[in-house]
Amino acid sequence: MNLKNAVNGIYALTSHSLKGLLLSRKAVITLIVLLFVVAVMGYAGAQDVDALPDGANLMDALILFFFMPVMAMIFGSSLIRDEIDNKSITHVATAPLDRVFAYIGYYLPLALAVSVSMIAITTAGFLSFFLQHGVNGAALEVYSEFTALVVIGSFVYSSLFLATSVLFKKPVFFGLFYAFIWEGFIGSIPGAIQKASIKHYLRSIGSEWIEHGDISEFDASGFGGSAAVLLGLTIFFLVFGAYLFREKEIC
């Protein structure tokens, strides 16, 4: 396999899919979520609040806890699955590009598109809240730390939802179950079971970085261990998804 050709193929697929993701109807969903977050955080910011802890709590609950997995699910459940269903994947599957590389060419734009959407949502939410209380150094620190968390989350969740979109014919059902029931419910009940969620490890990393709000007191699993778990999960889902994609018959 010529590595240069593989890199060219990954780049071509990444730029094509990234454009498709960011300029498609999913951009409208991002905009709606962004407006919702602005409305909620803007309203909360207008109240008499303790800016740093309350602002951090809102970003934690609204963005990291809720919209992070939901947005990754919306983008990830459809990228490859839509192309398989509308058969436009034929042009990729009949190119001289090993399907493992083609899979990476889908993963990268997905993770980037989710990151861009989540950064936009995080930025808008942050500004709508903190502009009412003054954007100082501590507030910017909270912002940059949450931004880093959503970027990490985008890469982890994207690897999961991309793999499930190859595995299932209707990946959105799994996505809804995972995002709302598993991450939303199981991931928030007390005890060891919550460690079986991606959110737990994201918040664990966050608890090491962020000094304000509930997340700073989160019963964490440790930075190094959490980072290793998230990296391990991402690699596992990527390898699993690439294997499924390579073995998949395109009918």
Binding site: G9, G20, T90, T94, A95, L97, R99, I250, C251
Partner: protein, 316 residues
């Protein structure tokens, strides 16, 4: 590179090939060798043409038997795709991309870049007569334009083999003629081997004389189309003739050697004639109509559909 031993000098060799989807059989004990040039693959819907092409492209795995393209096994062999251009029978163009963006994506996926790719895109756009529509979204193309753009996509990387799956399907007569001429030109002037499928025999006949007839997942006849035509002509044809004074025509027909039987329709407004030599029948019919002094308002063959021909070939 994954090598297969058989079929040296052949474009494609299939031996005892089988593919099924659950309980549905796509191909069953399928054997075929395709040589360089233009080859027509003809069969009714569901005969396994698209399954064959998907196996050739490595999009699906065979359940039994072997298939090789240019001596290589297609499954999990992405490098083979450098040699093949595929125009599918379904809508596959990304509707939110322009023609140029689509061809650029295909080119990049085939490791082409820079001015080489730009020049090639202009060349193939000109070849399929789509130069003026290159910057329009493919979602707004007509059926004929989409077919041309799909063929352009198959041509961008200048492959040795072109697989055109039902390229004429759904197009108007003018576009059909243009696509038939283009297919012939791709072989004659650009030296591409072409495998083209259709469920209409006469369309293929206008492109090539080398055909493979498929029916229910098997090859029922291969070779020169004139031999297959002869075979088909031996098949008793049922022709319906309607008009006034048809009884006299029926009587005249019964005296001809090629007439197997004549039956009146229920309302006696027409007859169904079974003939063994359709060519002789059609040549002699005007004279018989004159002799019988009748008027014919309509005439059609009940056997013009491929299904009837294939049933005959299978049952012969």
């Amino acid at each position: 590179m994954i090598e297969a031993e058989t079929g040296s000098g052949s474009v494609m060799v299939a031996e005892s090939l089988g593919k099924w989807y659950g309980e549905v059989i796509g191909l069953n004990n399928f054997n075929l060798e395709i040589k360089p040039g233009i080859t027509g693959v003809v069969g009714p819907n569901g005969s396994g043409k698209s399954t064959l092409f998907k196996l050739m492209l490595g999009l699906i795995k065979p359940n039994t038997g072997r298939i090789s393209v240019f001596g290589q096994v297609p499954w999990a062999n992405s490098q083979l795709h450098s040699e093949i251009g595929f125009c599918p029978d379904y809508e596959s163009l990304p509707s939110d991309s322009t023609g140029r963006e689509f061809l650029s994506l295909i080119g990049h996926l085939h490791a082409m870049e820079g001015t080489t790719l730009s020049k090639r895109i202009e060349e193939v756009a000109s070849l399929v007569e789509m130069s003026r529509a290159m910057d329009r979204k493919t979602g707004g193309y007509s059926k004929g334009m989409k077919q041309r753009m799909k063929i352009a996509g198959a041509l961008v990387h200048d492959p040795q083999l072109l697989i055109l799956d039902e390229p004429l399907s759904g197009t108007d007569p003018i576009v059909r003629k243009e696509l038939i001429d283009l297919t012939k030109r791709l072989n004659k002037e650009h030296n591409h081997d072409v495998i083209v499928s259709s469920h209409v025999l006469f369309e293929i006949e206008r492109m090539t004389h080398d055909v493979a007839l498929m029916y229910k997942g098997r090859t029922v006849a291969t070779g020169d189309i004139s031999e297959i035509r002869t075979l088909i002509d031996k098949h008793p044809h049922n022709i319906v003739i309607e008009g006034h004074g048809i009884a006299a025509l029926a009587k005249a027909l019964l005296d001809e050697d090629y007439t197997v039987s004549v039956a009146f329709n229920e309302d006696r407004s027409g007859i169904t004639v079974q003939v063994s030599k359709p060519e002789d029948f059609f040549n002699g019919l005007p004279a018989l109509i004159g002799e019988a002094n009748c008027s014919v308002s309509s005439m059609y063959s009940q056997d013009d559909n491929l299904e009837a021909i294939f049933k005959y070939l299978v049952g012969r």
